[in-house]
Amino acid sequence: MSNTDIEIVVEDPTAPEADSPAVASTGVVEVVVSLLLLALALTLGWDNWRTGAAWDSTGPQAGYFPFYLSVILGAASLYGLATAFLSRKEASETFVTRAQLRRVMAVFVPTLLFCLATQFLGLYVASFLLIAAFMRMVGKIALWKSLLTAFVFTAVMFVTFDIAFDVIMPKGPLEAAFGY
């Protein structure tokens, strides 16, 4: 194989370090998830019992089917909890390293802020801010490229959904100023 065959190369300057310490093990996360699912099963089970999980003159009550599903979910979660405690292999496996978590947070936090901004500023302004800020701050892409990409993408979305396909998205003060 000649080297000229390799033509597409994309580097990742922010790649997570391979030797980053573990933040949590898979075993611990399995225990936490099992406990949360167990709590959910108990809550939903209680709510369905309250709604009515027995029979009346018309047949099974509204909570009948979901109540027994809550029981199944609770039992499977308990089994999962026991397995997570007993499994040595999973207890030693890394769920996420510190470097990986930092990168996941670099997406999650802006997404969370984007949802919040959508509520107050409308979807299109929030989209513009998310794309421009993410490209600039996380991707270290030139400011003009980030702003231009964010503007073009947001404009294309607006034209496609709100105008061409008549799918109305949440609007904010900026769109209101333009009469939308």
Partner: protein, 505 residues
């Protein structure tokens, strides 16, 4: 012959400039989502679903199914050129596809992948054409107990035949079924599991859950890894295509075997992942040169791609005929049908003939057009990977939010999508499968209705699920599949006991 006539009618419905244009748009979008890291067939279909809300059902489903075919084709590009399987079922394709690319035979590998995808899909579509109407007309005789037994069979086979830990599949499935019941009870009108929230009155829309579970979680997972790529550029010439096609008859056994495996595992919920690996392993096992596999054999590309695509396509058969999707993507397509007020299942073949046969015709046409399109545009799509992920990721997030909001015009759904994104990320990392969750969420209310109607009809007697030969057989099969691992182990033990005896004789 009746099926053939109806299929021709389907082509007549389909062959309008508007539908053909939508087909092309769907295919291009599909290849695009297949190539992009952090997206794939199910995510692409779910995210782009709102685009189809204002279309008529036939145009909409044609576009959505073409997104699906396109994504399947697109996945092979990254597997072969970059050794990055876009989907789990593309893993087996990398075993021989990437070594072929390293040997300077990327064009041959890509042609082989696209052609075998086409063959696999074609065999499955032929099966759908002739089998689906028969199954659906048979299913017209079903009552609530039979339908519940079929749902039970689907759920049990996911638990019994799935590769994941059984309790994790049960968790995923029961959680999906529970969330499907949130909101107003369709029979009594009573509110349940809403805890006083007005937003939960509408229930949890499964498309919102899917966008979060697949779209947002995939972005989080993709971001976690190193995003550097080093791969091959490839352009496919007509000469290469013709030379690969000339050799096709040599591999007819492999293609036929993989198609059969794919169709079988697509109809039963074995799935495309199992099909691709089984196709690859059997091709290796029956090959005269098994040691050559993994070093760049074209057969190693033909086998998994044919099986995976046959499986992906065949998964639409139970969806159309019975209203029970055979895969996660089929479940999303089924959700799409429900958005347009269509009720997938046996009645669809009676009440919406134009729609069903238009869809089946689009499977033929979409695959032919997709094959031509993908063969001629590989360099363009491969170069998409040069776009930095930091630009792609926020655009996918925005597309997900638009998709989630558009379904019910509710801001709450955007928050719900984010929540499901985190759930999907954690579930994927600890091995809780998401496909049973999706399936349960989409089938939950139908399964509950069938169960309640059966119970009301029988006065609460569970024997109704064994009240005649048909429902009894399906229910028994469901129980057998639920305990399949234990039964298999028991039979495995017997096999082990027999093996030395055979050797001695």
């Amino acid at each position: 012959m009746e099926a053939f006539g109806l299929l021709m009618h389907g082509f007549a419905v389909l062959l309008t400039w508007k539908t053909l244009l939508l087909m092309m748009v769907g295919l291009v979008l599909g290849i695009f989502v297949g190539v992009l890291p952090g997206l794939g067939g199910p995510n692409g279909v779910a995210i782009l679903l709102p685009l189809t809300f204002t279309m008529d059902p036939t145009s909409a489903i044609v576009m959505l199914s073409c997104i699906y075919w396109g994504a399947l084709f697109g996945g092979a590009i990254t597997s072969i050129l970059f050794n990055i399987p876009g989907e789990a079922w593309s893993v087996a394709t990398t075993f021989d596809g990437y070594p072929m690319a390293q040997q300077g035979k990327a064009a041959e590998a890509l042609t082989a992948a696209f052609t075998s995808s086409f063959i696999g899909s074609l065999v499955a579509v032929l099966l759908i054409t002739f089998l689906a109407p028969m199954i659906s007309s048979f299913a017209l005789k079903f009552g609530p107990p039979e339908f519940f037994a079929v749902y039970l069979l689907t759920f049990c086979s996911f638990v019994g035949l799935g590769r994941e830990a059984k309790h994790k599949t049960v968790i995923s499935m029961s959680l999906g079924l529970l969330l499907a019941g949130v909101g107003m009870d369709t029979v009594s009108g009573q509110l349940r599991m809403t805890f006083g929230s007005t937003d939960l009155l509408r229930g949890i829309n499964f498309l919102v859950a899917v966008i979060g579970l697949f779209g947002i979680s995939e972005i989080l997972l993709t971001m976690e890894e190193r995003l550097a790529l080093r791969g091959h550029a490839a352009a496919i010439s007509l000469r290469v295509v013709l030379s690969v096609w000339k050799d096709l008859p040599k591999y007819w056994v492999t293609l036929l075997r993989s198609s059969f495996i794919g169709c079988w595992l697509g109809i039963t919920p074995g799935g495309a992942i199992a099909a691709s690996f089984m196709g690859y392993n059997l091709a290796k096992r029956f090959s005269k040169d098994p040691d050559g596999f993994g070093k760049g054999r074209i057969e190693g590309v033909f086998a998994p791609e044919t099986a995976a695509h046959a499986s992906g396509t065949a998964a639409l058969l139970p969806m159309l005929a019975l209203g029970i999707p055979g895969s996660g993507t089929a479940a999303i397509l089924l959700g799409g049908l429900m958005v347009w007020g269509l009720n997938p299942g046996p009645l669809l073949f009676v009440e919406h003939k134009d729609f069903v046969w238009g869809l089946i015709a689009s499977m033929y046409l979409g695959n032919v057009v997709g094959l031509v399109l993908v063969l001629s545009t590989v360099p363009i799509f491969a170069s998409i990977l040069r776009v930095p992920f930091a630009a792609v990721a926020p655009m996918i997030v925005v597309s997900c939010a638009i998709g989630a909001y558009a379904i019910q015009n509710a801001m709450f759904d955007i928050w719900l999508m984010l929540g499901f994104g985190v759930v999907g990320y954690v579930f994927k990392k600890i091995g809780i499968p998401l496909a049973p969750f999706t399936l349960a969420l989409v089938l939950g209310s139908r399964a509950e209705d069938a169960f309640r109607l059966s119970m009301i009809g029988s006065g609460g007697d569970m024997k109704v699920f064994w009240s005649n030969g048909l429902v009894g057989s399906i229910s028994t099969l469901a129980i057998v599949l639920l305990f399949w691992p234990a039964i298999d182990k028991a039979f495995g033990g017997v096999t082990r006991l027999l093996r030395p005896a055979k050797t001695v004789s």
